[in-house]
């Protein structure tokens, strides 16, 4: 079985701070991480490979990332965690891609691989749209489901997945090839093994650009993106209010009075 996992390199969250003077994003250093949800996607890809192996079928896990050249770090990390192969989709022409173009570029790469199963995170913590995974499936015209919390069963032809929605858990059966976006509840990702770390050092990362993917200029990057970011602002920082200390009865009286003011008691 060919299993793919799409990962995005995102800023290390805690570094996204606001400079109160210039009111802009401050990023000390260029520390990055694999989007947290994508670690669950990758883990599920590897667990699926293991499950298939028990059933006597060999599988490969390929990780793919679209991003600047430094996204290679994220791909190496994915290999240290157990992925077999990594592909970096990087090209000047891809810069400024919105979710339409991002999912298009990823879909063009997946088309070359012809995966049976694709895992994505439910959303990236920077762009935060959750649109790329479902978008890829539509570009590729394959079955899909989002917010998967458990892969109940899987074989070469179909999978049963339990998805977490507002009111509870919905179980669906998908014909393969299929794409799932996953939530944190799905598993607990493993940490890198020594062997994995060695493999990551040596691994050759395949690089594909617009030429290899045959993406027309007007369908990628800023030129191909239907949405345009025209303004970025930093919202005012939320400030803490009064902090009450004292004996419990006092605190309870104050808290009660506040709830009363808020008209909830």
């Amino acid at each position: 079985m060919k299993i793919c996992c799409c990962i995005k390199q995102v800023p290390g969250t805690t570094e996204v701070k606001i400079n109160p003077e210039t009111n802009t994003l401050v990023r000390e250093g260029v520390e990055t991480q694999i989007n947290p949800f994508d670690l669950y996607a990758l883990e599920e890809a590897m667990r699926t490979k293991e499950k298939m192996a028990e059933a006597g079928e060999e599988s490969t896990v390929t990780v793919i990332s679209m991003g600047p050249p430094q996204a290679e770090d994220a791909l190496r990390e994915a290999i240290s965690l157990g992925a077999d192969r990594a592909i970096l989709l990087s090209d000047r022409a891809f810069a400024g891609s919105d979710t339409w173009c991002t999912s298009y570029v990823l879909a063009k790469a997946l088309e070359k691989i012809e995966p049976d199963l694709v895992f994505c995170g439910m959303q990236a913590i920077d762009g935060d749209t959750g649109q790329v995974g479902p978008g890829i499936a539509v570009h590729l015209d394959m079955a899909q489901t989002a917010y998967v919390a458990e892969v109940v069963s899987i074989d070469a032809k179909k999978m049963v997945a339990k998805r977490l929605i507002e009111e509870g858990y919905e179980t669906v059966e998908l014909k393969l090839p299929a794409l799932c976006t996953v939530v944190k509840e799905i598993n607990e990702p493993r940490t890198a093994s020594l062997r994995g770390k060695m493999a990551a050092k040596k691994a050759e990362i395949t690089q594909w650009g617009a030429a290899e993917l045959e993406t027309p200029e007007d369908k990628v990057g800023l030129a191909g993106s239907p949405t345009q970011v025209v303004k970025i602002m930093t919202p005012p920082c939320r400030e803490g209010g009064e902090k009450f200390t004292g004996e419990t009865p006092e605190l309870v009286d104050k808290l009660y009075a506040e709830l009363k003011c808020l008209e909830v008691v």
Binding site: T13, K17, I18, T22, T24, V30, P36, P68, R92, A95, G96, T99, W100, S103, I125, D126, G127, D128, T129, G130, Q131, V132, P134, G135, V138, A143, A146, A149, V160, E166, E167, Y169, T171, E173, K175, K184, E185, D218, L222, A223, P226, Q228, V230, I232, P235, R238, G240, G241, F244, T248, L251, V252, K254, L255, A257, E258, L259, K260, C261, V265
Partner: protein, 405 residues
């Protein structure tokens, strides 16, 4: 496609250098120089520059047929024939947008046996309700819903389409936008028609650390998913009637490679986080699974939903569906009560837009107090039960003096 610095306007002030999230800008000889290999054309520098020295050039022209697109449409998400609450919020903002564009507001609803839902929608100030009924659409199926809605959009050409940023809206609307080759702005918290006649869509990104305004200038419809509880629920209509239009189902669109198996409801147990007006969350301070009892009791008393920090979820004390924060849910209730939660940034991003944040924590230095509207330094196991008791005892008593305001 290119990004340019105008040397006559740039004075080397370095505002853009600080704004760049990928460190692609350097100031050399009082002029900003952009490393095109690093630049992602995110436009953060364009916004940051006070001298309008940086510009991104887009060489796309509006397609000629944009004028053929009219009206504002709202996706009338329903489950078991019950319309999702966010739809009535979308009707509110949709009405405003339609009026500003001197156009009509329609709701489209997909499903089966929708009479009640349709009557409900028609009692709100919408001009038209499009009803697409078929047994195959009774239960949400991403593939079918995507194909059907795309087809209807192609026929009717709305100018603006809004859907709730629910698990349904976020996932299948993306597909609709892909098929129509148009833009979809996620999780909007602000929507207005600009002087240019375009929909100006404002949304949080980077965990709410920035607000981005996004346009979809060259393609139609302009599509957006909208967060819960950002816009107030629409009032019911006071006059007139909505036109109800039944669309003829096209079974050819109903093929799907996924099949519904079952649905297990879990919200009954502790309330639906995203819809809740009050959320009471517990963190590591609960100390164990039994530690959540005082929280649940207070939640019952206040009609609140129970939330959790990642620590309480990972320890197995509260289910993941209740996790608030970066790897859980983003919520914006009227009141968020954080109990025994230290308030790490990753938790904060999930609740920052709550109207009022109340924090109860033993540690006076907990970061949660930096964002709490009202902080209480105390032991949750003493404060919460005493508070619940007091609320029970005084239920219905007249208001006494207010501490706030």
């Amino acid at each position: 496609m290119s990004i340019k610095v105008d040397p006559t306007k740039c004075n080397g002030c370095t505002l853009c250098v600080k704004a760049c999230p990928v460190d692609a800008i350097e100031v050399k000889d009082k002029l900003a120089v952009i490393d095109l290999d690093k630049c992602t054309l995110c436009s953060a520098c364009v916004s940051a520059c006070r001298f309008k020295a940086i510009s991104i050039e887009v060489d796309k022209q509006p397609a000629e047929d944009l004028q053929n697109y009219k009206d504002v449409w709202v996706f009338g998400e329903q489950r078991d024939g019950k319309v999702a609450p966010v739809v009535f919020e979308l009707i509110n903002v949709g009405r405003q947008l339609a009026d500003d564009r001197s156009s009509e507001l329609s709701v489209i609803i997909l499903g089966d046996n929708l009479d009640e839902a349709v009557a409900d929608l028609a009692s709100y100030p919408v001009d038209k309700v499009y009803v697409y009924e078929a047994p195959e659409l009774e239960i949400y199926d991403s593939e079918r819903y995507c194909r059907v809605l795309t087809d209807v959009m192609r026929d009717y050409k709305p100018e603006i389409v809004l859907a709730g940023a629910t698990t349904t809206g976020r996932s299948f609307m993306s597909g609709v936008a892909i098929r129509l080759y148009t833009g979809l702005t996620a999780d909007c918290t602000g929507l207005e028609i600009g002087e240019d006649g375009l929909l100006h869509q404002t949304r949080p990104a980077y965990g709410g650390n920035i607000m981005a305004t996004i346009l979809c200038p060259y393609t139609r419809p302009q599509m957006a998913t909208v967060r819960h509880k950002v816009f107030p629920t629409s009032a019911k209509r006071c006059e007139g009637e909505a036109e109800i239009i039944r669309l003829t189902p096209k079974p050819a669109l109903f093929g799907s490679r996924s099949k519904f198996v079952d649905f297990v409801e879990t919200v009954g147990e502790q309330g639906n986080l995203v819809d809740a007006d009050i959320i009471i969350s517990g963190g590591r301070g609960l100390g164990g699974p039994e530690g959540s009892a005082p929280i649940r009791e207070l939640a019952d008393e206040l009609g609140a939903a129970v939330g959790a920090s990642r620590a309480a979820v990972d320890a197995g004390w509260i289910p993941y569906a209740h996790q608030v924060g970066q790897t859980g849910k983003t919520v914006c209730p009227k009141i968020y009560i954080a109990c025994g939660i230290s308030g790490a940034v990753q938790h904060q991003v999930g609740l920052k837009s709550s109207d009022v944040i109340i924090a109860i924590n033993r540690d006076p230095n907990a970061p949660v107090f930096d964002i709490a509207t009202h902080g209480f330094v105390g032991d949750i196991f003493e404060v919460l039960p005493a508070l619940t008791k007091k609320i029970k005892a005084l239920r219905g008593a007249p208001a006494d003096s207010c501490v706030i305001q």
